[in-house]
Amino acid sequence: MFAIFTKLADWLAYDLFGLSPDTRLGEAVHFFIEDTTKIFFLLALIVFAIGFFRALLTPERVRKVVAGRPRYVSYPMAVGLGAVTPFCSCSSVPLFIGFLEARIPLGVTMAFLIASPMINEVAVVVLAATIGWKYAMLYVVAGLTVGIVGGLIIEALKLEKWVEDYVWKIKMGEAALQKANTSFKARIDYAMEQVKDIMGRIWIYVLVGIAIGALLHGFVPESFFLKYASADNPFAVPAAVLTGIPLYSNATGVVPIVEALLAKGVPLGTVLALMMSVAAISLPEMIILRKVLKPQLIATFTGILFVAFITVGYLFNALTV
């Protein structure tokens, strides 16, 4: 199904530019062309489709459905909806306050915030298209589990005291938004707007991700990864997670790097742990959350995720050997 992108890259890189598939530059350029065309095509297609069917939920609606549910329902719901609800990280603060205001437990709220950047439908489809459905599903299951476990731990530790005091005082008004226009034309317009908005926001992360993937693919020899990142090296997983923590990228942007690393023989667990850590925690995100969370809670939150991602990494490496 995606062979057309390989053929396009073959033609552009080898025929038009006259590069040889046996050279490093040839391999890198081929990777770059194939992934750029494939990922941006998929990105536009999926965002458009979701926009058209309005399957997307707004955070306001999620708040309504999750509020007041028992925990065995609210936790799975929070991570599941977190994965499919698009929201920009600049909305993390109002979202956080809105959830707590609806008396959604802190743990459930954190579970939502953990899962949301880590998993989204675009990243999952692109991941499946590059490394296969099996691995993509493993990533989703691991991500949802990390969200639930992270939330449960935060709840068990009773960390409400580390939420900024003003948060508890905010009263939310009732939103009375106009009904969405559901005519065919309005749906098309809306879907187009979504494509423009989301593409405009994440294209740079995706492009940078593809460029890094292409460089790894073309210029870093397999022996380098065998030496430093094999499953025999117990430090490879923690190192991958540590590298990913301060870095920020949209989950979709990490996929080309995942693809290149797997092709070089880096074990699955190490690669998925890196992807989770890049997508889920980042410095900018922590700075935004600092408005509602005291430093102790940010540190605990980061610590829990650090341990969780390392566990995922080791577990998958052990399972796939």
């Binding site: 707004t58 955070p59 306001e60 708040r63 929201f87 920009c88 600049c90 909305s91 603060v93 109002p94 979202l95 306050i97 809105g98 205001e101 003003y166 005082k169 905010i170 009263k171 939310m172 008004g173 009732e174 939103a175 009375a176 938004l177 106009q178 317009d189 707007e193 908005d197 408005k291």
Partner: protein, 78 residues
């Protein structure tokens, strides 16, 4: 005169939204007042969780992203 409030804690899209309203109002020759609301308590008071949001004369009309140019034109002219 209509009063537009742009709700948002200072992200890029919020500033863009305010600019877009000013631009469309000027193009339509309509005088409007545009106020940027950055206080979280006040934003949440409108029931908005995803920013930017737009409030016209105290009624919430939009939330969760940049409004489209056509939409803004309608607001300014209505």
């Amino acid at each position: 005169m209509k009063t537009f409030k742009v709700l948002g804690s200072g992200c890029k899209n919020c500033a863009n939204t305010a600019d877009l309203i000013a631009l469309k109002a000027k193009a339509a020759g309509v005088e409007v007042e545009i106020i940027k609301i950055t206080d979280m308590g006040e934003i949440m008071g409108y029931g908005v969780m995803s920013t930017p949001g737009v409030v016209i004369d105290e009624a919430l009309v939009h939330a969760g992203g940049m409004p489209s140019p056509a939409q803004v034109e309608d607001w300014v002219k209505a």
